[in-house]
């Protein structure tokens, strides 16, 4: 289904969820010209934050993306604590909630490499451009090659522009 990017951002921000925008949406905030369908967040794995995250998303019918229907999946704090990275479908569209990202680590590792940016009218932490490139390079996925090339060109253009 089509992603409601602004809706997702609003739900998490309004609930006070500590999360860092990463992936394609972060690339957009930095100036990428590629259309993405990714709504990826690196969330903080403290009990309070996990409770906020579960409460914020539960009304939007989160379910494991690609899983057969009818599984007894409930996006509740215990589920989040037992797991780490969740690829979900929700009434707001697909959302990836990551507790850890290859190459850059968890929320605590990344938070010092973020910028506070206005995204869809909300102030959010967005991973900085070099750290975004680092994560894409570390993932080593062939599908990311075009995206990495663009992000590196973007970094160079940004630096040249001062």
């Amino acid at each position: 289904m089509a992603a409601d990017f602004a809706g997702v951002v609003g739900v998490l921000a309004d609930a006070g969820v500590e999360a860092i925008v990463i992936g394609g949406l972060a690339a957009q905030a930095h100036g990428s010209a590629r259309i993405t369908q990714d709504t990826d967040f690196l969330y903080r794995r403290t009990s309070d934050n996990i409770n906020r995250l579960a409460a914020a998303l539960s009304p939007h019918r989160p379910y494991l993306r690609g899983a057969p229907p009818g599984l007894p999946f409930r996006f509740e704090p215990a589920t989040i604590k037992r797991g780490l990275n969740f690829t979900l479908t929700t009434a707001l569209g697909d959302i990836d909630l990551l507790g850890e990202v290859v190459g850059i680590g968890d929320y605590e590792s990344v938070v010092s490499h973020t910028l506070r940016l206005s995204v869809f009218g909300r102030e959010l932490l967005v991973v900085d451009l070099p750290t975004l490139i680092q994560s894409k390079r570390a993932a080593g996925r062939p599908k990311d090659l075009e995206a990495i090339a663009e992000l590196e060109a973007l970094l160079a253009e940004r630096e040249r522009a001062g």
Binding site: S32, I35, F120, Q134, A149, E150, A153
Partner: protein
């Protein structure tokens, strides 16, 4: 590689990768320069508009195909 990219990448701790460099030749830098003139909020709004347009076209295509 555009002149000076290599030096900038190394400044940020990245060793230029020949495979990525091959893809970089296809990057339209004029679009990136335009985007860099915008605020992050403007970039996200423009992206949303482009995404919605793409979704609309996708939906229209599915309708024509009887999907």
């Amino acid at each position: 590689m555009s002149s000076g990219d290599e030096e900038i990448l190394r400044r940020f701790g990245f060793e230029p990768d020949p495979v990525i460099e091959a893809y970089k030749k296809e990057v339209d830098r004029t679009l990136l320069r335009e985007n860099l003139r915008r605020t992050p909020e403007e970039r996200c709004r423009n992206f949303l508009a482009a995404y919605r347009l793409a979704e609309e076209v996708r939906r229209a295509g599915a309708t024509v195909r009887g999907g």
